[in-house]
Point group: C2
Chain length 538, copies 2
């Protein structure tokens, strides 16, 4: 216990020093800002950016422990696998057969609804597994061959989760589905525990704070306790399924929401009984606090994977299905390839529309995370929500463009509105991620986009463009329900153009402002800066 | 011209200095090795690792040019998109319908053969586009919003290449296919030219050597000349298609092999007329020499993308197709879910087999590239060949496991042999990549795995395990053709076990050797080192 407290004191002391340094620099103005940013970065490298650490360890490690390796690429590969798996359950939804005679009727809607729910739950489950993986590899910063192979085994089991979950969802009252799912989760938990035990037996693989600590077994104990909670709950759920399967589902739901529940209970206790003394068990890792640091690099890698697979999901279908066979061109279109391709027109449009939308959403995400200096768990959660909406886009675009000719205007409108809701959700949660970052102020964002920063308004415009356009399209389709598809096409074309227009406007406006009001503009932004700083001192 | 020569002299001088420094250090032994490695790394950071450059530029850039950004994430996203697109044409091959009554007959084989050829050609075309993209962004190391949007547009068109190519392949004599493909390539070339012109008008976006140069227009001219060669050839091909489509194909083939042809012509000229004086046009970038540096980071990112999408291709299918509908379970299996799932058994096996194989091939690739300090064009080419084989694995595994019960033993054997050939190819080209790196010696590899290094034999064993196992399985199926499928299953299980056994053996053997023959072993390895150094001086 004592050693943890010492480390925490040491860290607290260090943070305190940082703050003192920051406080001394309260002169206001650009120079101070730059200093603060540099300070943030120094702080970062102390606490969370294990990637830099891995790089600096690399040289050192080559000499001391030739068998160990930087974990960077292993994590990138894991992120790629997990992002593909997270989005894969959109395929059964997207490929639901739609015949001309049952265009979007009640049954089909029910089926689509169920599949959508399965997709969202799978996405949630995989991202929970992903968050656990991040947490694990923020403690273990170097790997060796054994860890790499154990991690691959773990990945293989995680890729089975969507399938076992959808089995469970299709046969909710069947024991087999529950058993398979619980079995998967239990084996994953056990492999992760083996990874932890293995890594703690070789301290040079660990994060430098833990490595420097004399009594590492406390950390190991804490991490194992958090990790093993999940398999134990699943074992209980599996046992329960034998006599009351509803109870199993309650237990499984508890697994996902356990950290939030325990947080909530703690918060209530604090409010009722006054803040309790700090729990010595509650070390810096595995706190499940919303402010727990999250590797920004991995959030980016996972998001890139989701955006990339979503952008190309439709071209996968097009490549497979839309190359007409020579014989059918001969028979159905009198040998005219142009006519044959024209019949696929809507699918090309759907592809271009979805690629452009996903591409521009990626672009907004990219712009945002360029300015994020440190990600937290809350930001990660909001980002995941945004990604869940992004994952649904190919389906929405397909529905909008491929409605059978006999479809009623009501169905058309519904499909278009669904697409608008998805685009709106994706954009709005990006905006929320930014707001969450703004709340953390200088600890999470670079100075340019903080309140009063020179790029603040521009970033706001970039991030709110898609939600605004989607909302406008949604409202328009309500008012002019007959032209809903036309409005949607307009939106697809208008959004990229609006992006370009926005850039142009900002460039011109900034050039004008700089030329005309230079001193005044500068003063204003400085005042804004001061207000924020005085209202939110750390 | 003069400025280029000056820069080349400067660079040559620098290299010369490095060599002199290396020569001075010829004392032999471990210390020298470490020095050389450090030297390599210094050299690296001078010449090719633009990622480090981008990081160091980042801090500087934030202050000087607030609109520019590190290109790291844009490139990672592009790599993810390109790797998905490169492997996508395996889907039409994998999903070719196989009925029980036409098990692998002649027609089907022809169809599969054609689709395989289309897959390989698409893979080749996308990787050529990818190589051009690397080359472009080795010159442009920072981006701004305009470049990011231009790059997204470029990506969108590249994703259309597989589709237009397969149209062209399905309707070889039809003008439309050729026109669409040529149109795509032309627009891509034009966008890339716009990117180059734009970047050269903002020198702070460029690579630091070019940025430091007084007369940048020579570089721009050279790069544009190389870039525009492709659209011009395509325009010619499109025009030719109007009267003689065969000529169009010759022209298009020329586009891909042009660099090799011009290299070959130059080489022949040099051999015939003696080495010509150095062409001043031939700058360090866009040389198409086999030793041209290639961003190691991007080779890794692209490979990760291919391995990840290939590992999960089968689970995509399983998630979509293999969740039985409740009604069909009721009707066909008397409500027994276990029986229903048992009927999917082969597909699960195929998934596990392919995931394990792809995972271990990734692991070998990862081990290899951890030891590579610098990638060259030749290594990139060999790596791409290995990836092309990897891309075919899901198909092979599917064929092996899902043969209809009525299939003749001959067909079984053929499917298993095809799978063996693919595994062998993937492993053998990995080995070849290593050999290519070994040839470049200390310029490409870290000391541990060079000739005589402590990990040299272990790396050889790791990389040759899969080719050896695949070869053995292939030969066994020839001898014992009746048990081919059983042999294949054995191979799937044996390979991971062999991996673990290999690790164990090496660990034990090394521990024994260290204890027993420490002085002798050390001496031997040093001698080996010396021999290599004297036989291959730079």
């Amino acid at each position: 216990m004592k050693s943890i407290c010492q480390i925490r004191d040491a860290m607290g002391g260090q943070e305190g020093d940082d703050h003192a340094a920051e406080d001394e620099q309260h002169i206001s103005g650009d120079a101070e800002e730059e200093e603060a940013a540099a300070d943030d970065e120094r702080h970062d490298s102390n606490v969370s950016t294990e990637s830099l650490l891995a790089v600096s360890d690399d040289v050192e490690g080559d000499e001391t422990q030739s068998g160990t390796q930087s974990s960077h690429r292993l994590l990138a590969y894991s992120d790629a696998l997990l992002s593909i798996i997270a989005t894969v359950m959109i395929l059964p939804v997207a490929h639901t057969k739609m015949e001309a005679d049952e265009a979007l009727d009640e049954n089909l809607q029910l089926l689509l609804g169920t599949k959508m729910a399965v997709y969202l739950m799978t996405f949630l489950i995989v991202t929970v597994a992903w968050a656990a993986h991040i947490r694990l590899f923020q403690v273990i910063v170097r790997i060796d061959d054994t860890l790499a192979l154990l991690n691959l085994a773990c990945m293989m089991l995680i890729t089975l989760l969507p399938y076992t979950f959808s089995l469970m969802a299709t046969f909710p009252s069947h024991v087999l589905g529950i058993l398979l799912f619980c079995g998967c989760v239990m084996v994953i938990g056990l492999i992760q525990s083996v990874i932890v035990v293995y890594a703690f037996s070789r301290p040079f693989l660990l994060q430098h704070q833990i490595r420097a600590c004399a009594d590492r077994s406390v950390y190991r104990h804490h991490i194992l306790k958090v990790l093993l909670r999940v398999p134990v709950m699943c074992l209980l759920a599996a046992v329960c399924s034998a006599f009351c399967y509803q109870l199993s589902y309650v237990l499984l739901a508890l697994v996902i929401f356990l950290p939030y529940i325990s947080r909530g209970v703690l918060w209530c206790r604090d409010k009722l009984l006054g803040p309790a003394e700090e729990d010595p068990e509650q070390v810096m890792f595995y706190t499940f606090l919303p402010s727990e640091p999250l590797s920004k690099e991995r959030v980016e890698a996972f998001s890139d994977g989701v955006y990339a697979i979503v952008a190309t999901l439709l071209i996968l279908d097009i490549c497979e299905d839309n190359v007409p066979a020579p014989s059918s061109v001969q028979q159905r279109f009198n040998g005219s390839l142009v006519a044959a391709l024209r019949s696929y027109g809507p699918e090309y449009l759907a592809y271009l529309g979805s690629f452009a939308t996903v591409g521009l959403l990626w672009f907004a995400h990219h712009s945002l995370f360029l300015q994020v200096s440190r990600a937290t768990r809350a930001m990660g959660l909001l980002n995941t929500m945004s990604l869940a909406f992004v994952g649904g886009l190919p389906l929405a675009f397909r529905l909008t463009h491929e409605l059978p000719p006999a479809a009623a205007p009501r169905d058309e409108r519904r499909a278009v509105q669904a697409a608008c809701v998805l685009v709106f959700g994706a954009g709005a949660f990006q905006l929320a991620t930014w707001v969450a970052a703004l709340q953390r102020g200088r600890r999470a964002l670079r100075p340019a986009v903080r309140y009063g920063g020179p790029e603040h308004i521009f970033m706001l415009a970039k991030l709110s463009l898609y939600p605004a356009v989607a909302l406008a399209a949604f409202l328009l389709t309500c008012a002019l329900s007959r032209f809903s598809v036309a409005i949607f096409h307009l939106m697809e074309v208008a959004a990229p153009l609006a992006f370009l227009l926005l850039r142009l406007t900002v460039t011109v406006a900034r050039a004008l402002l700089t030329r005309l009001f230079r001193p005044r503009g500068r003063q204003e932004s400085e005042n804004g800066e001061d207000n924020v700083q005085s209202s939110a001192p750390f």
